[in-house]
Amino acid sequence: MAVDKLVDSTQLDAGLTSVANAIRTKGGTSGQLTFPAGFVQAIDDIPTGGGGSDISPVEFAKFMRGDPSNIDFTNLRSVRRYGFGAAETGNLYLPYITTLVQYVFDGVNAPIIVLPAIIQIQTNTFRNCNKTEVFDLGSDLVNITAYCFQSDTVLNTVILRGSTNIVPMLNTSAINNTPFASGGAGGTIYIPKALYDHLGDGTALDYKAATNWSTVDGYGTITWAQIEGSQYENYYADGTPIT
């Protein structure tokens, strides 16, 4: 072995220990590392990849049950069934979501859910949102599906922004076990002024005369209100999320 320079062994040991500790931390190991083969092997064992990390569904679920209120969901493009579980998200503003499958928000703690771009929902999409009080649904929503809001037990406000046509309710089961159901405490449905002209004779575009809506209206649980001039005239008047 050639000796061509003097080395401070204390400093060298400290440096190697520091590097070894960094490798052990990154690799999730605690064993002794021999130099150099052990160092090389330990580094080879660390998975390559970008800065992200993969977590298991269980880990994610535990995380979501913790405190995801600081997560910004604004850029979300899709959500799977039970995607939000019972997460403590706080209010949800999802401006890019256009379609939703069943049971997306089941049990989520989101007092207000705002979906400006929503077009198509499936049966049961908003079912079991038992902590959600307000749904704000954008103007392109094509219909209110069967069992849509079923068991949303504290729901008190629905905003339907479509102004060209009534949003058809495809089955009165949409409001089963909600305050809007027969005998329920009731709530308010905000609709555009254009659909607020209640003739009540089935001849005009009028929620009170529309199929299924007319039946629910008969329960006496709906207070109809105009979007225009209300607190819900804009999604966010100042461009900031609802808090």
Binding site: L170, N171, T172, S173, T211, N212, S214, T215, Y219
Partner: protein, 76 residues
């Protein structure tokens, strides 16, 4: 076949329209799994496509399942 039944909501006569074959009922290009209207509107419907199971009346499906079990001797 379209089936219509009358029911009462707060003293007002309504008609519930369904398909006995588990199909949508259609009016003005909108497909309903169940359509309820004030009787005086006289709205009529045609049968449309078959509904997926999750949109059908689950009580009716349960009754059919029970009937099937009886027919097959699984239960009485």
């Amino acid at each position: 076949m379209i089936v219509q039944t009358h029911f009462d909501v707060d003293g007002r006569d309504f008609i519930r329209t369904v398909s006995d074959a588990g199909r949508y009922v259609v009016r003005d290009s909108v497909s309903y799994s169940e359509a309820c209207d004030p009787a005086e509107f006289g709205r009529t419907y045609t049968e449309g496509d078959l509904m997926p199971p999750e949109e059908q009346d689950m009580d009716a499906l349960a009754a059919k399942a029970e009937a099937y079990d009886i027919l097959m001797g699984v239960s009485e």
